[in-house]
């Protein structure tokens, strides 16, 4: 039977199926276990699973039902390359939704009917809450540890894992980023 989806559309179609599988698994895990239980490593694992799942569907499901044709050839490298592009695109979306300060400001604007004073913004999204959440996350990841210097305030210290992370950042910042970071 003649395939409905010829190259590279068949490969694009399979990659889109992988994206659908990935999104379903990712959102299910987020719902069941919470965002913090599905970090970057888990995302990569889910992607690998979704790509294998999509290829398995394409291989074993009746090809004619998928529009690929029963004897059509599907190029594995093209499928993997499309899946890589989807993954990279989704990573931008994921980190933006989860951590972007700019998107959070837009969210606060939406809640307040599109208009906010800077004082309202600070009340809704205070610098303290902005930093405290990130510091707690980095303590959990093992990049920071909490200590005390004798005063009542907890002091954050860098761990060896945090130092290793910064050692990777240093040569890149000088070469590729101009001006202050953050």
């Amino acid at each position: 039977m003649q395939p409905v989806f010829g190259a590279p559309w068949a490969e694009f179609f399979i990659a889109a199926v992988a994206l659908g599988l990935f999104l379903a698994m990712h959102l299910l895990i987020w719902w069941r276990r919470g965002v913090d239980r599905c970090g970057f490593g888990a995302m990569v694992g889910l992607w690998a699973l979704a790509v294998v799942g999509a290829l398995a569907i394409a291989l074993w499901a009746p090809g004619s039902a998928l529009g690929l044709g029963t004897h059509a050839e599907v190029h594995a490298v093209t499928v993997v390359a499309f899946c890589g592009a989807w993954m990279a695109l989704y990573l931008h979306l994921y980190t933006g939704m989860l951590r972007s300060v700019s998107l959070r400001i837009l969210g606060e604007l939406l809640v307040c009917g599109g208009r906010l004073t800077l004082a309202d913004l600070e009340a809704a999204y205070s610098p303290t809450s902005m930093l405290a959440g990130r510091l707690a996350w980095m303590v959990e990841r093992g990049w920071l540890r909490l200590g005390a210097d004798g005063s009542d305030e907890a002091i954050y210290h860098l761990t060896d894992a945090g130092r290793r992370l910064l050692a990777m950042r240093r040569p890149l910042v000088g070469r590729f980023v101009a001006g202050p970071t953050g």
């Binding site: 965002v35 291989l59 190029h75 490298v77 837009l106 969210g107």
Partner: protein, 169 residues
């Protein structure tokens, strides 16, 4: 249906990877200039096309698609790294603490070499203005979202609700 691995596709993908130094080199040379990332991506694409033409005759549509998709993957990956390096809030906190162990109030006051967290917020507001997602109210005491900004906020809210992220940020 059968799954095949063709060498022309591997060549297209491998050439995209081999020409990655063009992306990095162009970006480093144009560091700090407007459009540096886009220019670097264009230079990388040109180098990839030239290399593919020189190395192989008659690449098929699936081969070009494989190389093009991998090229896009490399760009998006690099843009993500650059974004974290240049705008990473958490990473900047680690830099501050490496200089000197600090408490939360000291970090708020001394963020980004003493500029403070207000500087970071101001930088984000400028970004929202640049992309016409919001504009300052008269007198600069507040912000007004544009129609485009509100649409983006609505899409983000749907995604965050579906994923149970909460407000995010």
């Amino acid at each position: 249906m059968t799954l095949v691995v063709d060498s022309p596709q591997l060549l297209a993908v491998g050439t995209a990877l081999a020409t990655l130094p063009v992306l990095l080199g162009t970006h480093a040379a144009l560091r700090g200039r407007a459009g540096a990332l886009v220019s670097a991506a264009v230079a990388h694409a040109v180098a990839w096309l030239v290399a593919c033409r020189a190395l192989a005759d008659g690449l098929g549509v699936a081969d070009w698609a494989a190389g093009g998709a991998f090229l896009l993957t490399l760009w998006l990956g690099w843009f993500q790294i650059v974004s974290v390096l240049g705008r990473g809030f958490s990473l900047q906190l680690l830099v501050e603490i490496e200089t000197e162990p600090r408490s939360l109030p000291a970090l708020i006051a001394g963020y980004a070499g003493g500029r403070g967290v207000d500087w970071m917020l101001e930088k984000r507001v400028r970004g929202l203005e640049h992309f016409r997602l919001a504009q300052r109210l008269a007198g600069g005491e507040g912000l007004q979202a544009t129609a485009r900004g509100l649409t983006l906020a609505r899409v983000a809210r749907i995604y965050k609700t579906m994923a149970g992220i909460g407000a995010g940020g």
